[in-house]
Amino acid sequence: MMVFDSLLALIIAALAWRCVTVRDLFQAIVTFIVLGLMLALSWTRLDAPDLALAEAGIGAGLLGVLLLSTWRVVRDAGPDQGEGPPPSPWVRTAAAVGSIALGTAFAVVLHTVEVDSDRAGGLALESLGEAGVEQPVTAVLLNFRSYDTLLELGVLLMALIGAVLLRSPLIHRPAAEDTGTESPLLPVLVTVFTPLVLLMGTFLVWAGAHSPGGAFQGGAVLAGAGVMLVLGGRLGGDAQVSLLLRALLILGVSVFTVIGLLLMPLEGAFMAYPEGLVYPLMVTIEFSLALSIGLTLLLLFTGTNGLRGAPA
């Protein structure tokens, strides 16, 4: 296994190097996507299948699509995009030397780290019984450190508002039309696969309580389904936004917060759940989260205020 690990590590390093040094932007993006997949692979090797899923789905998949569609805009715009001149050789050399030093230092430091079990994670594993879910990561995300998760949803929402702010005055149609003409097969594929993907997403969310998976992964898959629909021309961005859509977007945050606040006087702490109700509450929260995450990611992809069904 050591050989495999080493090879994987080497590939990762090489891909990273290629990604930042390759001249062509498209190749850099593709390399980045591959790097994401390789990372996902390596993380499964490191007992982190949830993260591998998330990285593959969000970090490589969704972000990859987003990168590629941006690349299209960049390509169409031509060479001059107002970035600064390339840094001087001196800066380059200094950066190289410094980075190598930093990397070396980091590697050395990582090798000096000694880990014992007397730590927060150990405690989390011990307290799993009180968490209401069996999956430790989900327990941490939705119970022990649920506050982080809640705030993180805020980040997502803000990124979306930011993107909406940017797009709102633009009359820019996402690449729906031109993708539509690329392959006649795509709409069919979309029609067939979308329900499957949706189903898979729902399952992932559900499974999050017990095994790898959860709201983020599920949401990512849901978003992926949406992206497919968009690419297939079934769904399009819209300048108008419906109240329903918005309600769905904020569903996760609202449910999470409101449950926390409502139970706060009873339980004496924010986001503390009564013993018997932990599991149902978790599931409710998880589903609403997944829905909101998926929708947010999708809108981040289309970069529009809202969505509308497009005639097939």
């Binding site: 107002g82 230092a105 980091f106 050395v108 430091v109 990582l110 000096t112 780290v113 880990v115 014992d116 007397d118 730590r119 927060a120 994670g121 150990g122 405690l123 989390a124 307290s127 119970n143 022990f144 450190r145 649920s146 506050y147 982080d148 705030l151 993180e152 805020g154 980040v155 929402l157 803000m158 990124a159 508002i161 930011g162 909406v164 702010l165 940017l166 709102s168 005055p169 936004v241 109240l243 918005r246 309600a247 977007l249 904020i250 945050v253 609202s254 917060t257 409101v258 926390g260 606040l261 706060m264 006087p265 339980e267 004496g268 702490a269 924010f270 986001m271 503390a272 759940y273």
Partner: protein, 481 residues
Amino acid sequence: MTEFLPVLAVFIPLLGGVLQFLMGPRAVPVWPMVVSGATTVCALALVGSVTNQGDIQHMLGGWEAPLGIPLRVDGLAAVMLLLNNVVGGLVSLYALGAHGRSGAVNSHFWALWLLLWGSLNALFVSGDLFNLYVALELVSLSAIPLVLVAGPRKTVAAALNYLHFALFGSLVYLAGVGLTYAVAGSLDLTLIAGPLAEGGPAGHMAAACLIVGVLIKAAIVPFHIWLPAAHGNAPAAVSAVLSALVVKSCMYLLLRLWTEPLAGITVDAAAQLLGIIGAAAIGYGSVQAFRQERLKLVVAYSTVAQLGYMLLFFPMAVATAWEGAVYHGVAHGVAKAALFLAAGNVLLYVGHDRLRELRGLDRPLALSVFAFALAGVSIMGLPPSGGFIAKWLLLSAALETGQWWWALVLIVGGFLAAAYIFRVLRYAFLNAPGPTIEIEGPVPPRLMSWTALLLGVLSIVLGFTTAPILGLLGGLPGAAP
């Protein structure tokens, strides 16, 4: 009830922002104002109860540390909350004038602003290293879109630069968090110091990453290059918040990290290095501010300079310096908000903010010019003002620790500040004929003028309210009482 206040202080504005997003333009301006009011009241109640009863701690989810995330409000947090919510409330009032009309952009503004407000409160009450990372990101990612409210066309480049730095800075910080967790096995701020000190090289690297990450986010020279464009081009209310609170929150974080998790491995050389960076910031920012040709850029560079003062705490690290640095943060926050709001009024009325063409402003915009002048007094560190008290404390600390060179930095910094502040006033008072007003906009609504003035007056009043605020702050953490 008291222990719920930190949660409410975070979630009233956060939920308010989210619901604003849901309700859209129709809710403007009633809903945002209701939320603003509630937030301010709640936060002030929180500060009040800290004043009366001492520190407040709330273990989220009922999980004890190190498992759960604690919300803690100690003196430092309470002071920052006070600043945040007073300035926040006043900026809301100002924004009622500037963004009070219904409309998609205004709706987004309010949603983002309330979210930002909540995020800042979240940052100040957080007692967990990783949660602070999330809060930092929350702050950045609500702040950057707010810059865009001024119209994407002229702000997009600034926002992009801002984003690069914010994102990179928080990842550097996150690397520090990771290493810290590796050696300490905990993320609770109060549990880290000891293990980190014994953590060997990993602990050292963690400290370096945490500090540099925060410095990048706090726009400390030389990591400031994104700041002037972003703060200088954002809408006035946003500029005020960004300069007064957002970068200040990062400085707050640095103070907290230094005095809590990093207290065990404090190294004098590092402290001196931070001091030198601070001095460089003061010098560089001030000179650049003096050279700018646009009003808002002057004010923005002033922020670059003023942030340096807080860094002077580290090399001195005595109680006086602690009080001075924090008080400087407060005074600068209030004064800078006033400056930006006043500048916003100028921009609104004149249609541009090119300094050389701002003549005879004091007649149509007397209140705003006056507000600018009052706040300028504090920025220059002249009495009677909050800025002066801070400067006095820092000066005392410099002499107390025998590090007289910081005293020189403080004094020269005051001069440079006077140079750019008076340069602005000079143009404002100039009576000579010449191009005055290109596009005569509306005279700013009273509300906008008076909020700016109120903040200006507040920055003077801070010169007299030292005792209660420093009483609330308490002494230097870890130092013998």
